[in-house]
Symmetry: D2
Subunit: 424 residues, 4 copies
Amino acid sequence: MATAFERVTRFIQRLRDLRGGDEPWLPTFPPDEDVSRRVAGGSRIDPGAVERRWGLLGASEATRGQVLDPMTVEQMPAYEHNIENFVGAVRVPVGIAGPLRVRGLFARGDYYVPLATTEAAMVASYTRGAQALSDAGGCTSVVVNEGVTRSPVFGFKDVVEAGQFVTWVAGQMPTLRAEAEATTRHGKLSDVSVTLEGNHVYLLLEFFTGDAAGQNMVTIATAAVCRHIEANSPIKPKYWFVEGNMSGDKKASSQSFQSVRGKKVIAEASLPADLVQRRLRSTPKQMVEYYRISATGGVLSGNIGIQGHYANGLAAVYIACGQDAACVAESAVGITRFQENPDGSLYVAVTLPNLIVGTVGGGTGLPSQRACLDILHMAGAGHANAFAEVCGALVLAGEVSIIAALASGQFAQAHQKLARAKET
Amino acid sequence: MATAFERVTRFIQRLRDLRGGDEPWLPTFPPDEDVSRRVAGGSRIDPGAVERRWGLLGASEATRGQVLDPMTVEQMPAYEHNIENFVGAVRVPVGIAGPLRVRGLFARGDYYVPLATTEAAMVASYTRGAQALSDAGGCTSVVVNEGVTRSPVFGFKDVVEAGQFVTWVAGQMPTLRAEAEATTRHGKLSDVSVTLEGNHVYLLLEFFTGDAAGQNMVTIATAAVCRHIEANSPIKPKYWFVEGNMSGDKKASSQSFQSVRGKKVIAEASLPADLVQRRLRSTPKQMVEYYRISATGGVLSGNIGIQGHYANGLAAVYIACGQDAACVAESAVGITRFQENPDGSLYVAVTLPNLIVGTVGGGTGLPSQRACLDILHMAGAGHANAFAEVCGALVLAGEVSIIAALASGQFAQAHQKLARAKET
Amino acid sequence: MATAFERVTRFIQRLRDLRGGDEPWLPTFPPDEDVSRRVAGGSRIDPGAVERRWGLLGASEATRGQVLDPMTVEQMPAYEHNIENFVGAVRVPVGIAGPLRVRGLFARGDYYVPLATTEAAMVASYTRGAQALSDAGGCTSVVVNEGVTRSPVFGFKDVVEAGQFVTWVAGQMPTLRAEAEATTRHGKLSDVSVTLEGNHVYLLLEFFTGDAAGQNMVTIATAAVCRHIEANSPIKPKYWFVEGNMSGDKKASSQSFQSVRGKKVIAEASLPADLVQRRLRSTPKQMVEYYRISATGGVLSGNIGIQGHYANGLAAVYIACGQDAACVAESAVGITRFQENPDGSLYVAVTLPNLIVGTVGGGTGLPSQRACLDILHMAGAGHANAFAEVCGALVLAGEVSIIAALASGQFAQAHQKLARAKET
Amino acid sequence: MATAFERVTRFIQRLRDLRGGDEPWLPTFPPDEDVSRRVAGGSRIDPGAVERRWGLLGASEATRGQVLDPMTVEQMPAYEHNIENFVGAVRVPVGIAGPLRVRGLFARGDYYVPLATTEAAMVASYTRGAQALSDAGGCTSVVVNEGVTRSPVFGFKDVVEAGQFVTWVAGQMPTLRAEAEATTRHGKLSDVSVTLEGNHVYLLLEFFTGDAAGQNMVTIATAAVCRHIEANSPIKPKYWFVEGNMSGDKKASSQSFQSVRGKKVIAEASLPADLVQRRLRSTPKQMVEYYRISATGGVLSGNIGIQGHYANGLAAVYIACGQDAACVAESAVGITRFQENPDGSLYVAVTLPNLIVGTVGGGTGLPSQRACLDILHMAGAGHANAFAEVCGALVLAGEVSIIAALASGQFAQAHQKLARAKET
């Protein structure tokens, strides 16, 4: 008997039990029933618009009070260019992980990194890793590449016209740069590359975006480039789109992993064996053995890169510091590598090619988010590279801690102790 | 001249310019300098501990006031099992996207979905998609599979012992189930599968986790299974680890994409051509043409699955509703498919195999997060499947809106209008 | 200046230089020009048909003589069910790699493996690896899983009908098995699993195929299953296809890599340090260091699995032994793992989940191919599992040899010495 | 009950049945038993050495006669730099697929492509596709990029030294080129790029290799580059290897797929609807519908790119024409795209970025292989680009034919008719 079929059958039975077997498969809505009302006011944030939105929701006063807390009410106008259909704010608790000693090109010092998360044991684990790194004299963390991408696509009659277009556009770099940079004060078009697929031409435009994460900036600059091409190309595209889904925006991608999207950071350290024993209750040999078996596990399950749990630290620091949390999907790839040094100490490194971070723009200027950047002394212009280096160091701390925990058998216990009160 | 080398050279020059060329490559810290102090108090949340932590940070009163707002101070004890080294909270603005009419196995009705984000245009875009779906009579969204995984790994002397172990363990299902289920009230061990690699055996344990996302639950249950195996297996593993990194936890993974991790949801709808024109300012043909070219773009850049921007909607609803935001890394994969129906309407579907969601446990009980679930009438036990179906419908709305915007050339403009005040 | 654009420009210039700049971009054929004649006789193999085909080609007598050598002329009828438009044969030189001592479930003894290749150094390298394994007492090589797949797909009106279909079909296993097995004497339908994507249902049918590779067998059996479903399903598919491109046929695939396609074989051995030194001129430490860095290289470049050069050995033994050489595309994935044992010896293992091999059917009965199987004493029924184990052992020998060569710096020299006479 | 475990149990039972349950799990060889003899003579090809090798094998005269046919005996010396441990040749039957009308930058005319295969229905299917393309006026097939890669890797003390090395090496392009090109008459170092991972630096050297596939050439040139670096770098690597497994050699790789390895070729055509009907017994709509569902199937199963069966045509033409058949593993990736043109005709295109082909070197000069190139009028220098374009056109023909067959339901029947005599 086919096993997979058995599983399907069991699952269907389970669905029936959960729902009550006699209910119809799906509900129907009477055709004359109105879809309910629109949301009032769009991007406007004023008490009246907010009031009308809550009216739609039919929520209790208690619910409203939790989301529309006094400080959020007071600071309402601050959110006007960051959200639409505003009804309040969710408070995500913040803990600090550190001290984390970083030797970077831009970041240098001991940091307490604000992490916004609702998952028990997470801040404790990153703190343990950070302290181990700091005890070892700190970690090195350096920005080694940079570039935010957009990938417009152009369709032609056939591959011959597509090829003629490529021949033309390859000579247009100075013009494309001028068009792009006319739309932005801080963005620089740093590189363009080309992918020919049948009669389609995807361009990959890469930008330096200053201290902003820059995803809007590059979209607007790319649109200007496309309009210029449309107006001036001797071979007219039959159609074009400002983004052909090759940029890796908001998703894990082999291409971004293999090149750069945002900032590429490498963080590394060497941990003496006695420190590993004392701080992490493991040994370099044990950690390397676990690392090897888990790296193979990652390959067996088809990950992009090799890693433990980059997403935990990145999501938490992104939320705390006003970054785009959706970019965790693209940032949480990279290569972790642990190996024994000839002297018996433990070499640890992470390589993160896709950190989409900034210290201006996006959510970085919102009141509590800016305060979290202030904790790092990194609010505002001039700090994006340093912030990226701290993110890299943080991820390294997280890998050190989880690999030690899994190598030495403490992992399940830590979660049991810190989280079990909540969930069974 | 090698192009890539030119780029390296330009980047190095840029780094020098940014940092000032005369600074030493990396800082050194004097060996006698103390790494700064530990963080006080660990998981304790009380005014004294919080005070001591702020003392460490050396932050201004203004900064502290933003993070330690009055309501957070008042509700401090609520966070005690969700975070360590607590210093306050970050307020993430919430907008509502809707109405979103859903015909599900569990979700049925018109929803306004709370989205926590700091990125302009995002809620507006999801709202536009939601309203288009609702105008079309709503979308279908159904849970079709379920299972949260852990993958312990066991190392043996050689493949012969590994094979003998597999032979033994394959007969132990009832016992393993009993051991696992003794640790949890709600978890059920639903399936176990085996991967042999050389002399290593990875087990993949799959659980039903009730209304919890369940990641701690399955860790604890898996640890119990492993201890039982260690104590009882006639072939002793040389070493074993509770997680061999095959579970897909916190990362995009081919294996999870191809099976299930959390809940698998499919959402679909058909949009009449005139509705596409009126609501989305595009046409089914144009949207299908863009879809095709962007699906190819996704394949060209090596995505897992085919999709536009699942991560945007998922990150926002996860943060608002107390889900684990780091799971966006694994949840934001799937297949979007748009095609023309024979009658000229537009068929749209998303298939999301890895939604890690719950309505109990994790951050779902925190004050403002629970309030967001209340907006959906989905707080507490009995709602996880319905919440997953709303997540699926939300993602569908986002794909409809972004594909329409990119197909019709509105994408850059929308971002320019809603976000440009902030960033240049 | 954009680097990629520079490269495009250089490449275009190079094309112009190669072709002569004044030629038109592409040729045009006069519209009235006949496309040349059809090929005579299709699948018939007789002297007249062959003669007419050579007539079409306008080749010299010398050319014809090389392809239509006397023995091929004599044995012409033997090829009748293996090829169409037959014009002769290509002679691929065969070398033997061995002795290769194998301890398998089915293969047991010392083998000289016939390898058909035109690449210098290849047989020498596999021989070196084979002899090192044999000196160590041989390698273990075992079949641990089996199954050849086809993936028909069914399209429905919507996901609700798709779900109802799944509910029905999951109860049909005995019937589907009966339908499938009525078409074949040796095939057994061993498993069926289901993938729901939007309103599409992909089934994955898995078969045991006896001693045949079995790809035709499973296609015919699957067609029978589909016709049965079409005739009997209470929910009629709007369309269906016998293969929805999920089976992994003729391509590397994450799914096949993670499960099985054909036979899954694991081969392993332990090599004492002095043997590594003497036979391979390397050390276990050096080889493990190279292995680690090359495994990371494979992950960085986005391979499926981790491996050196499986394709070399597999292509050569497949061609020699009448296997389907196109299946190298799917077979050449897996996991190589090298690590030091506590006693200082070198543990080496390969895991190959997708060996598509047989000893009956396909090209296995052709005169020289059957002779190559005879060299292994594996021609005809009853030998497929043993042959798969020898393939696994062969791949292990190749990994041992190439990793030793790359680790110790002999790689370039070997190629220089054995191949350089031919190519500069 | 766990389904996967059930399957394991069934498979173990099946193994026992096949082997006979009482046999010991694995054989042991007596420790004093000699591993059998070495192979005589290595790379020497002379009657005496061949005789001694056959002596080792213990094969019958009949077996020997099939492998050591008269023409192979006569031509023995021709194989001397292409194989070691030579014992004869395997004859792979060759059929011709065509006429295939190609409009290329280099290939122009109507070709009959020699295909060496033992799989029934294959040549017939490619012929059908070729004739359909030719009836439509032929296909366009153009080389659009080129480059054969090697990826040496260098290990350093830490990322700081690695970065200093990158800074140095990026200025060395002219020197590296001179060193590389001193080793080869035809190879040109065209590009170098850099990947930093922790304290490791992988270089990707790209070469133009003239009319040779060039894999030995680039290895030897890369070794010279590495020796130069070792001798001259101001920052000494702790270790280095000539190939760090990032080149994509002999394996499917995301990186090679996304750039180029060997030659990148695009082939396309438009087929009028009535031709599709008459020649292929399908319709553009039906073929596009099947294409879409199969492209999704490819994504669902985790292929690299989107394609049907590139490996079939490529393996066959590679074997016939003396290419390295193992390179099928890397060449058989790409993007197939089928869509309807506005006028109702069918647009078909394939993009193949990794064709490793040549018309000099490797096996291209062997007697029957050279004869097959002669059939194409492409033996010797000056033909590699044209041959690559024919390979692209051939693959397009194969995709057209198989997609038509699967779309219209003829697939299983064709295999049943042509192949069933052999296998059940």
